[in-house]
């Protein structure tokens, strides 16, 4: 099958076949990492822009590296929300970037739906790098890639996502994608951080982490934000750790050989105990190169790059 999209706004809009194609393409990309020269000329001469309206270290550098490994000309723009208020609108910024000849724009924004607004404004390819609490499709895909790589399959696996589901775009993209590929998905967290009617997305909801862990193959632990305490969602992080923190003892409740993931950055000692983060079940460091591979695959598929060269050495 072919990939005929010029934009990726979320995993909700993709079919299972399209997700498989992206993951398979990412596998070819990852092979490049084993070469001596970790770079192919696939997107040579193409300009790709990282347009980040929220601070980001890992996602932005991951996209940057992905573009560079495909020989694209990468440009990063970090715009603080405060300057947006006085400055030009997103629509005007986008048109400017397109006039500069950008083939693709990668956008991160705090407001849900902003990548769609951008895609409706410009002809360049648009890739959502996270929009508010809506979706973070490349994180969802890299998590799925990691599960597939580690466990050999996604269909039939039981995946538990733990933490602040309400404010998490990572959770949303994971749920859409995993369900499309036939996984069972559970979410666990304090009731104040589980959004209404999330069951309709096809997940099981748990307020008791230990109950949720029984029979689980993969645990994906989300970062808890300190602001949730101020927002009245949590009494204290100390209590959160007591109720929802992942430690070695709790992990024993899951299936043998459970896989532990975290999208980062971690609050070690809060949502995840250090021994779990760096334990033998953890694939957290594998998620990083997988993120680069998945983003290379998407940049390639969305901009219609040339064929990937076979290994020549």
């Amino acid at each position: 099958m072919s990939f005929n999209r010029r934009r990726l706004l979320g995993l909700e809009e993709l079919t299972g076949e399209e997700i498989d194609l992206i993951l398979n393409t990412a596998e070819s990309m990852k092979e490049i990492f084993t070469r001596q020269v970790k770079k192919v000329p696939t997107l040579r001469g193409k300009t790709i822009i990282n347009l980040f309206y929220e601070p980001s270290t890992r996602t932005k550098s991951s996209f940057d590296l992905a573009g560079k490994r495909l020989s694209a000309d990468m440009m990063s723009l970090s715009i603080s929300m405060s300057s947006v208020v006085k400055g030009e609108s997103l629509v005007d910024t986008a048109k400017t970037l397109e006039a500069m000849g950008a083939e693709a724009v990668i956008i991160r924004h705090g407001i849900p739906g902003t990548p769609k607004l951008l895609a409706e404004t410009i002809d360049a390819a648009v890739l959502n790098a996270g929009d508010g609490a809506h979706e973070h499709p490349t994180q969802g895909l890299l998590d799925m890639y990691t599960i597939r790589e580690k466990r050999g399959k996604i269909a039939g696996e039981t995946v538990l996502i733990v933490g602040d589901i309400k404010h998490s775009r990572v959770a949303k993209s994971n749920i859409w994608g995993l369900k499309k590929l036939g996984a069972e998905v559970r979410v666990a967290g304090p009731p104040t951080l589980i959004p209404p009617e999330i069951e309709k997305m096809g997940v099981e909801v748990y307020y008791d982490l230990e109950e949720a862990l029984v029979g689980v193959d993969v645990v994906n632990i989300l970062r808890i934000q300190l602001e949730r305490q101020e927002g009245g969602f949590l009494p204290s992080l100390r209590e959160y750790t007591e109720l929802y923190g992942m430690n070695q003892e709790r992990l024993q409740l899951a299936n043998d050989g459970v896989t532990v993931m975290h999208p980062g950055p971690m609050n070690r000692g809060i949502e995840i105990a250090p021994e779990v983060a760096y334990g033998e079940e953890s694939v957290i460091t594998d998620q990083i190169p997988n993120g680069v591979a998945v983003r290379m695959a998407l940049l390639y598929l969305l901009t219609g790059g040339e064929q990937i060269e076979e290994t020549t050495n």
Partner: protein, 428 residues
Amino acid sequence: MKKLLIKEGRVIDPVNGVDEQLDILIAEGEVVQIAAQIEDQEAEIIEANNKVVTPGLIDMHAHFREPGFEHKETIKTGSESAVAGGFTSVACMPNTDPVVDNASVVESILNRAAEAKVNLFPIGSITKDLAGEELAEIGFMRKSGIVAISDDGETVMNSQLMKSALEYVQAFDLPVITHCEDQSLVGEGVVNEGYYSTVTGLEPIPAVAEDIIVARDIKLAELTNTHLHIAHVSTKGAVELIKAAKQRGVSVTAEVTPHHLALTDEAITTFDTSTKVNPPLRSAEDVAALKEALAEGTIDAIATDHAPHAWEEKDVGYDNAPFGISGLETALSVLITELVQPGLLSWSQLVEKLTVKPADILGLDKGRLEVGAVADVTVIDPEFEYTVDVDKFYSKGKNSPFAGRTLTGKAVTTIVDGELVMKDGQVL
């Protein structure tokens, strides 16, 4: 002034129980004759065969933005938008700049409105500068011509002050129109709380934010025995509270907007900012309750909450866009398509909710088609099918979630004070 003779229309006048083919003769701004066959050589003939002829439509809730926000709408463009949509009278909310919280602003609006094509009735604010802290000069504004008071867009969160407002207006026989939202529950919310806020990640506003203030204000109206009118009811919970209050004999009336009847919160999944409105588009269950409440009379009137915004203000991210829908030019068509055609509302019920009901709530001597009445008349083509083109709106606000929709039924002629102001969709 030229005489007008409306020929062979299906005349619907709910007050007088009329629904039959009749002719109407208009002279000197008044209805002078209603009969089966009228001949008049001097009159300009308006052919209304296969059309519906009704008392001029009354919108009791609109925003004309003048003074202060003329880039969004003016009294002139708002009036043109109104008559294009078949409305002959419009009550305008006070959230202008300056706020309509004193007599001089009321007078300045009425002066500007003298040249407008539509009858304009200003609504004064409840509190100074809509700040919810001190009562506005309601007595002075009443003298200058306001027809109601409201802090629309804001809820008077201080219950003592709201109680005081309801007590104070008893001296003037003015309804208090309340915008019901518990601000602490609204927070930064932009859409209805439910499945669609979950999947879009947009900040939710729970339906109980509305229910809680509806309950509070009904209790205060019951205590003070004052006429309370609830603006843009959008939840099932509010409907139940209003129904129970009416059964107890509380002096409460309510309105609903066409968009809350025609759209559910599923519309927000497009992230189209024209779906961003306050109160937010609600669940299918709420919409079903609103339709039922309208049909059984729990909800008295339909009002547009016409809220025009400039294109550049809406062409931004969802959170940053202002709330509001430009509604005057689609209201009637949406209501015919969504309520009358499926048989949820009879023609007579629809006309009642757009004419005599809002007139009675605001104390206007309008909404009737009888000899001696002021000649405000709307002629509707019930079969006219068209696709909504916002670029053709007379309103400056092109922010419509109905853009591109095919609708059936449209006002084709509008007569205000005996003068033909709109014909075949063209404002004259």
